[in-house]
Symmetry: D3
Subunit: 270 residues, 6 copies
Amino acid sequence: MWDNLETVPDFSPGSVIKIKGRVQLYRNRVQLSVMQLRIARAEEASPADFLPRSARDPEEMFTELRQIIASIADTHLRGLLETVFGDAAIAAKFKRAPAAKSMHHAFCGGLLEHVLSLCGLCQLAAAHYKTIRRDLLMTGAILHDIGKIEELGYQASFFYTNEGQLIGHLVGGVEIVREKLRGLPGFPEEYRLLVEHMILSHHGHLEFGSPKEPLFPEALMLHYLDDLDSKMEAMRATIAASPDQEWTARSPALERSLLNLDYFLKAVKV
Amino acid sequence: MWDNLETVPDFSPGSVIKIKGRVQLYRNRVQLSVMQLRIARAEEASPADFLPRSARDPEEMFTELRQIIASIADTHLRGLLETVFGDAAIAAKFKRAPAAKSMHHAFCGGLLEHVLSLCGLCQLAAAHYKTIRRDLLMTGAILHDIGKIEELGYQASFFYTNEGQLIGHLVGGVEIVREKLRGLPGFPEEYRLLVEHMILSHHGHLEFGSPKEPLFPEALMLHYLDDLDSKMEAMRATIAASPDQEWTARSPALERSLLNLDYFLKAVKV
Amino acid sequence: MWDNLETVPDFSPGSVIKIKGRVQLYRNRVQLSVMQLRIARAEEASPADFLPRSARDPEEMFTELRQIIASIADTHLRGLLETVFGDAAIAAKFKRAPAAKSMHHAFCGGLLEHVLSLCGLCQLAAAHYKTIRRDLLMTGAILHDIGKIEELGYQASFFYTNEGQLIGHLVGGVEIVREKLRGLPGFPEEYRLLVEHMILSHHGHLEFGSPKEPLFPEALMLHYLDDLDSKMEAMRATIAASPDQEWTARSPALERSLLNLDYFLKAVKV
Amino acid sequence: MWDNLETVPDFSPGSVIKIKGRVQLYRNRVQLSVMQLRIARAEEASPADFLPRSARDPEEMFTELRQIIASIADTHLRGLLETVFGDAAIAAKFKRAPAAKSMHHAFCGGLLEHVLSLCGLCQLAAAHYKTIRRDLLMTGAILHDIGKIEELGYQASFFYTNEGQLIGHLVGGVEIVREKLRGLPGFPEEYRLLVEHMILSHHGHLEFGSPKEPLFPEALMLHYLDDLDSKMEAMRATIAASPDQEWTARSPALERSLLNLDYFLKAVKV
Amino acid sequence: MWDNLETVPDFSPGSVIKIKGRVQLYRNRVQLSVMQLRIARAEEASPADFLPRSARDPEEMFTELRQIIASIADTHLRGLLETVFGDAAIAAKFKRAPAAKSMHHAFCGGLLEHVLSLCGLCQLAAAHYKTIRRDLLMTGAILHDIGKIEELGYQASFFYTNEGQLIGHLVGGVEIVREKLRGLPGFPEEYRLLVEHMILSHHGHLEFGSPKEPLFPEALMLHYLDDLDSKMEAMRATIAASPDQEWTARSPALERSLLNLDYFLKAVKV
Amino acid sequence: MWDNLETVPDFSPGSVIKIKGRVQLYRNRVQLSVMQLRIARAEEASPADFLPRSARDPEEMFTELRQIIASIADTHLRGLLETVFGDAAIAAKFKRAPAAKSMHHAFCGGLLEHVLSLCGLCQLAAAHYKTIRRDLLMTGAILHDIGKIEELGYQASFFYTNEGQLIGHLVGGVEIVREKLRGLPGFPEEYRLLVEHMILSHHGHLEFGSPKEPLFPEALMLHYLDDLDSKMEAMRATIAASPDQEWTARSPALERSLLNLDYFLKAVKV
């Protein structure tokens, strides 16, 4: 309701606006009557305050990640992971990054939440299949999306950086690994190829942006479990957004409506 | 080496032949000189003796399956499973069936081996995702391929039955469930829809033969873990068939050669 | 024009509203000035009164279907059809169902209208190709969409039922047939496979939702003629909706605009 | 069995060879012992004598086509058809051409056989759908493959001509029509567009080589019925080639094996 | 701002309207207050005056085209081109036609501008690859879109004609060539096939509307360079429409946003 | 003809064999009678002697490449190129590498030959489109396939290295550039993104293995001209391999037979 304002200033997208006004009920709907408005000063609020956030504390999640890294027995792979996450700049970005712009875990801390969930899954699957090299799989799980710390920016909302649009998080992740390997001269060349391949192939198919398809069991498993974890979270969020309906709104990530089992099964006596 | 036989009788494919002959070395290769041959009598051998078999004992695997069924708390779902596998004819076929004609677990007992592995995975994944209804997922895992007991025949090799070619194991599985539900009048209609949907949608996509895509989390998870378990076994078998090579022969199921990590990593000191 | 109403009540979608008002001309357009409005009482009107309907009388169409059934010489196939359509609950639903939610024959009685048209086509095609088994083809035509009586619901508009979304009309149709076959013990197993296959394969390709592709001539012909009849009706409806234009509005079902030949050829002297 | 020939002359593909030899039984198989062989002289035999042929007499089929043309009431359309088939060179080629190189009706006279069958189908379908312009549809059916008289050559086997490879029978057919229209100055421009569009669009989809998709009902129907007739003939030929088997050899045209109903149903008592 | 008009007359789309009014600033935006309006008389303005136009003079561009034609040494090919463009009706349409409805060069004179640019590219590429027949390639470049003079109409905006929708510019272009060849009896049949094939195959793939794929080097090169020139112009126009942004609006023709290098590189010191 | 050898030793693929024998004519065919054979000693011959080679001298081609680099005015881009090709190890590999395993330029020196041809094309196209940044495009052309020096190995034939299979030449090329940039601290970050993007996107589409599609004009042009040059060479080689036929053997790279214009046009008088 702008009627009593002579001129509305032009705001750039992403500005935080300070409003003085009155909230009223009008024809059964809430209505805001604006009396004054101006751009908020930096000390009053920052756009990032309005970004969605993980329900979990990032520091606590990061501690959990460090514990997973500590559990890796192979000294080469653990050494690589400690070097990557011991870099304070990487750690700071990793705690804050979303896992995607909109498809799944699209909130601050979402990348860490996704990686921890995936590590849990991989841990279980590695125990299930005896021939899986657990340390290799866990290294792939921890590093597969490391490139996202440079791919996505966040001010008032999430967006792709120039690095994200032009290079992408697969190749960007390989770059981060290779940069760190420069300080680890004894790291076996074979391991480098396997870790880089897991990062590059984790989308599973060329048409999903992986320049290579998975070529050994740990790489294939990483692709499946990463995809599963993303889809499980997308399903969870879709259902949570339509709590009192039998069928949810259509999920753009999943390209379908979902059946809400809590609603559907409420009359069933177990 | 047929040279000293006047006439070679015509055998139909799948016959078992009894041969009397001599094995010799010729130019560094083994050579069989056939002296007499005839069709074996039924009491001497059956074609099924030559089919590949699971390394595990089918009775032992079936006992394991019954224990998993007993672990299901939901009385409706456990009741359905007990009815299905309590049918002696189904049990006999289920112990013997392969999981596929050629793509993965293509050996007698393969279906049971695949289902047990999938149940193990589902058990772990249900523990990992708190909102997953474990009993529903396990029921889907146990029943998803039940239609294969009618889809595949086996004499000298595996083949699709007429039922398999014309109807397929997805719809055939739904039929078996519905047939058994006739004797379980209190089974909730909602559960019937969910179980049937999990069977029909477990190939994940229309172009892979599922007439419906997974529409709730347990159905989606079943699709992913079933696909993962099939691919893991296909990878294992492909690598096992090329033990002393860096790259395996091309796998028709996976449409690629695989990197044999045992070979590739043999020079790496951990 | 709501201006003189203090509060507009919230109506749920699908409610029938009773309105008292005045119809006026304003700037060359018809305008309704609402004076009073409330939800209609059940005895005043039902939402289904507002659904579109076939131009043909459902009872008359059903009689025509019974005559087609009576024309089938094969006693097994005619017996199956008589059992299905002799079921009063099935008959009642069949007379009322639309053939689709929106793509073609999307009106009450549309399923019956489509089936009759398809039967007419099949009758002609069976006469044209001497080796076609006419009774088998007709049985497929009559039963191919029987599952739609459970797939689509209709209140104020058409929608997919839970059965429709989770199972679909192909598998649902097979279920209805199998249910009825339980009362027909002498029905040949071979016929059961053929009829079920025709129902399952009538969409023609996996990516259109058929879990099997047509594997014998009658099944392939059923697919072609069913698709043709649906598209002919979609074309007819699209052209009828744009009577005075050379090119119609874009048809979502056909994904193109159509040339209206009545308009295009009006200047041609034959 | 070439053993007693000192030198085997090189024959170019498609040569007719005259052989003098002896036919014997050897190990239950027929064996030809060649004693003399040379290239046959032109007056002895021509390669075309060995091409497969329609079971029907081409002159009789052509007479039937002329009768169909005579049944067209629209003077413009009938005039066009009479001009095309009144051209002796076109008529001679049309009587002899196959309908395809290998997919369906791949024998001399196959084009005529296919067109007559399609005309029969169109005749029936036009009677079934009241709004279909029968004369227009029949004209499309008669002319849709006219370009094949220049697309396929035949000496010892069928092959694509340069015209066929570089231009194709769709555009080639349009050319033949346009050439003939030059002598029919009163032919309505609207009709020309419709007839040419039916020829160009009869493959139904861009990826099947039609530069335009069907844009009015007669063009869509022509596509469906042409495709149906081709597939029916491919099915008939596939089944005829495997008479005593339940499942046929895989058909390259249909990309599947077929169920042979004569064999499958032989135990069913009607 | 229509507030002070009692009734707004209905205008058909594409009408030119004459308005008397006042232009004012209101809340920082330009606002037009309409006082009188009526349909413009034919002598006042024509809808075509409002179509976008090439920045280059059509006569000057046409002269350039004639010079390119004059540079062709092969007398047959030059003769064909002189006959086509010596036709005054074709020349008039060619000077005025756009190259596309919306994808690229969508302005009057756009076809000529695109053809001249493509000729320039082909000239260079023919010099680069020594085995390319330059005259044949240039002939293809000049004639490849000749059918667009009949495919697109223009009144108030560009639209597809009936000829364009039903036949298209590929087949339409072949027709124009064949019509002109009728007056050139000595033109080699081989050349006719090559020129027609280049026109028909220049979209490169069946799914892009070419009924044939390019089958010799000049035809393949024509396809690549035509596609490149269209895309370069689409990129140029997309970037020009978003001058002061790092990333452009999404281009429907290219299905992506583009990086504006002028903006992106403005801080780089070379 | 091995008849007079008692035992044939087993040779591993890629061995060079020294043979003593006699060449004779037998039934009009050349026949080699082998009398002695053994593995050749390293000083006698190496498998690489049998690899196909470019017709051009690699040193001369490399000198031409250095001249192109010297022509680049932009000091940053020229500095990068001089650093890459001033590396003696890279230069040695670059002179020897093929451009592909089998699709195009599959011979030693093929990579250099392809890059020089592409540079020539880009030079011309940059002159044609005034807004193209010539130095950026040339840098992309020179570096686009640099990763192939690690992707392909060659002993007796060409094969993919482990690096090639697991990482590929797109990401491998980015790595080489980034490694060299480490020694060029003043190189603008913007340029790094553009050069890396051109390398990653030069296959044009995700399904062809590029993890990013081209996002600015120079990247799109590089994709088109690289693809064109590869196809032109594939066409040239296909036609050269079937010199005396109107239609060539089917090219696996192009998935079609080609028309040989030299043959097709031999009767045409210009």
